[in-house]
Amino acid sequence: MALYGYAGKILRLDLTAQRATEIDTAKYRSWGGGHGLGSALFWEFCKDKTIKDGRNPANVIVVASSPLNGTLVPSAGRSEVVGVGLGMYPYSWYTRSGFGGRFGTMLRQAGFDAIVIEGRASSPVWVDVRNRKVVFHDASALWGTDTQTAQERIWAQMGVPRGTDTGWWDLNASAAEALDPATDQGRTTQKPAILTIGQAGENQTGGGGLVHDAGNIAAVAGFGGVWGSKNLKAISVIGTGEIPVADAKALLRARQVTKEKYVSDLQQPDFAAWTKIGKQPKLMAMVPPPTDEFRPQACQGCISGCRARYSVGYGSETKCQVTSWYFAPSRRVAKSSQELIEINLRAADAAQRYGINTYFAITGLHWLEHLVEEGVLGPGKAIPSNLPWDKYGTLEFAEKLIHALSCREDIGADLADGWVQAAHKWGRAEDLRTGHMAFSYWGQPDHGYDPRAEVEWGYGSILGDRDICEHCFNIIFTNITSSFAFAQPMRIQAKDLVGIIAEKLSPYAKNRPEVLDYGDENMYSENVAQLVRWHRHYTRFYKQSALYCDLRWPDFYNTNTPDNRGATASDDAGEHVWWNAVTGDTLSFDDGIEIGRRIWNLDNAIWTLQGRHRDIVHFAPYIYETHFEKGELFPFYMWPCRDEQGQWVYRDIMGRTMDRRKFEEFKTSFYRLEGWDTASGWPTRATLEGLGLREVADTLEAAGRLGKERA
């Protein structure tokens, strides 16, 4: 039977023996792709799931594509990375990160759905994959190079021509020792897609990421540092293969429907539309473009590119927070708008080249500033640092800071293993109580969406493995607060907004708009627990396994349509519609949620083995002991709430704290709804077996960590 949507093989890399083997994808079909596939592979091939530091040689990393990559499903071109991370606190959980670009698409055309990375090479290597043929190369000459240099040198080593005035690259004429000479390997005009680490990964830092092309980085979780610990510099994939799909006609038709119905008309666009999938290709950067000479640049299959490539030669392919990690300091020194833009985009480039996660800067820079201002950090201070703090705000300082963090120099020596760990080492644990160090959960910084306000974000992060970075509901905050801030009309009123969204929150909260009320009285309720469940399960399958992009999905509401209903869960262009057209499945939207629940439960089983217990599932102390009074983006935080008369309004929910006791009750409610032992947060046998995970239950029981059934 055809395995529609899949390349059909998974590549296993044994770095210790420098050996590549293949396994069939079919066995893992029920897990979908991406994260689900990755968790199933991790469960099978990681022999010690108690490890709490990603540098342990027993760690297994999976880089996985989705059946939807490269099949013109709109904005489903990303790749997923899973494994035990690095730099988190108190444990580095089994976790995830994602990146865009063209790697997943090309991996599949090279013949593989995923890559399982095991063991540790004795010296640096890079791996060359061409049409299912794999060669390990010595990477000692690449070690120490930044991510762009590494990719360019690998292309050069492979004989790949630079630029775009190039012809077809005949794979028959390349790497003869790797490819079967009896089979015509075909031709391609594409350059190999490479995933690589920079210095931040080589030095095994918690901020080390995996970089692909100029600006795609799997940044959170420290997987770059994990690759560094395995002496893995890069993986290159190129292929001339093809992916069979179940119903190409349905795919093409749905793409046309999406363009005509859900996307703003190219000729007469609504520039202020409230939608995710229906946006025009507007650059998603936090600073203006340095020039108007640029193109929107998109991941493969995306319906609306969010990055850019410029004529000026810097800032290309980078977007969002990376473009503004240094914004606050740079404002102090920049003397013009143009200078401000250039400092920030070049600072972004520095981070991409070193391959380092810039999320530390969201709140970490404030903390470092606080330490400098207090007189405890600097040359000759209690926390010694010879960084040029007198030049804070300049590009020079930004580049030196990135270098220090990536190369374990200066304060980077302590911060590399985790910022909260460094705070403890420096005797600054109190900053986590005062909020000077706003690192809310698992040693990771507040994303800019404080858990005391955006509760689904905070709860999802602390009940899971990391800062979720999933903007499914956060678009509500963005639309409403921006409109309020800039005196623009509210395109959809509160009652209608929550009603439209609730229609799509099947099965747990279908037509229950009360789950979206983040008012003080409701923020710990079972309503919100159901919302968090829906969010965890939706994202585990649709966003992280099917790999629908967080920027474009879910499309709950959409002012481009006559009734303001978005594409999510719709019968003509919903997430399950695409999945079925590609794979031949007959999933309902709810079936996808259920697959997500299964994946989420497997993940919790892994966390349980690692040492998870509800007693350590807590926010940093400042969340309970201070009030949320200063937003990263706006001085208010608008959200739909019911007022005293039960009417829906948009209300500012800044200024409150989180009640520790009530949060404990919320956890109990959540665990009960998930079918987990409320005393521990561990999954129970009944829940696991109901999901077809008996073997997982057996493993937990053998480890003495199986949740007790509810009496």
């Binding site: 071109g77 190039t166 992916i243 799909v245 190409a248 038709r253 793409r255 590119g305």
Partner: protein
């Protein structure tokens, strides 16, 4: 850059035609005419694709749509329009679009020894390769003067293929060809590909580049300049 070796069968066909033409007559060679002065002339295509390389967002959706519409499979190698990119290059040199030009005096048609590659009268004389007649000699692949050559090699089926303006697209739910829909034009999220009736200047390589950017593009912050 490795290129597939040219085959010479097309040359022998042309030699026959040339010899015939030397008698002072125009020779009808199937759908083409070899004039006495040596020019090989076929009816012009009824349509052409022009592209705005400065506008393209590099998403590859056109490539996916092309291969899906023609074959039901997603493959960049089988796409009849190619998007070439270099992530580390500067705009506008970071990306190139390579579409078939439906050349007036199409060398790929001229060299075909079996007439598989022909100007198809049923579809507005679009230059199309009849798969049932293609013998996989790759003469057309070698004959295309452009880089990358605009004829694709289907290494699995051992045949050549090329853009037919979606004349034969069993997976497209609308008629294709010059009088119908082109999958790449329809699917492009930014409108970087256009179908035109007027034949671009055949003497200039850049004549298939068009400026398709308008006030919307400018409003989105990008240049409208050619």
């Amino acid at each position: 850059m490795a290129q597939d070796p040219a085959r010479s069968e097309g040359a022998s066909r042309r030699a026959f035609l040339a010899a015939s033409a030397a008698t002072g007559c125009a020779v009808f060679a199937g759908p083409g005419v070899l004039l006495a002065d040596g020019r090989f002339v076929i009816p012009n295509s009824a349509g052409f694709l022009v592209v705005d390389t400065k506008k393209c967002q590099g998403c590859g959706t056109c490539m996916m749509a092309c291969s899906l519409a023609h074959t039901g499979r997603a493959s960049y190698t089988l796409s009849r329009i190619q998007v070439l990119q270099d992530s580390f290059a500067r705009w506008p040199d970071d990306l190139a679009l390579a579409q078939c030009r439906q050349c007036q005096n199409a060398p790929c048609v001229e060299v075909c020894p079996t007439g598989a590659n022909h100007a198809d009268a049923k579809f507005g004389h679009v230059r199309r390769i009849d798969q049932s007649l293609c013998i996989g000699c790759k003469s057309c692949v070698a004959a295309c003067p452009f880089t990358p050559d605009r004829v694709q090699w289907d290494h699995g089926g051992r045949k050549a293929q090329k853009c037919d303006l979606c004349a034969e697209t069993p997976y497209l739910d609308a008629p294709g060809g010059p009088d119908g829909v082109q999958a790449c034009v329809r699917v492009c999220p930014v409108g970087a590909i256009a179908f035109v009736r007027e034949m671009p200047d055949q003497t200039r390589e850049d004549s298939y580049q068009a400026n398709l950017r308008d006030w919307v593009w400018k409003r989105l912050g990008m240049t409208m300049e050619k």
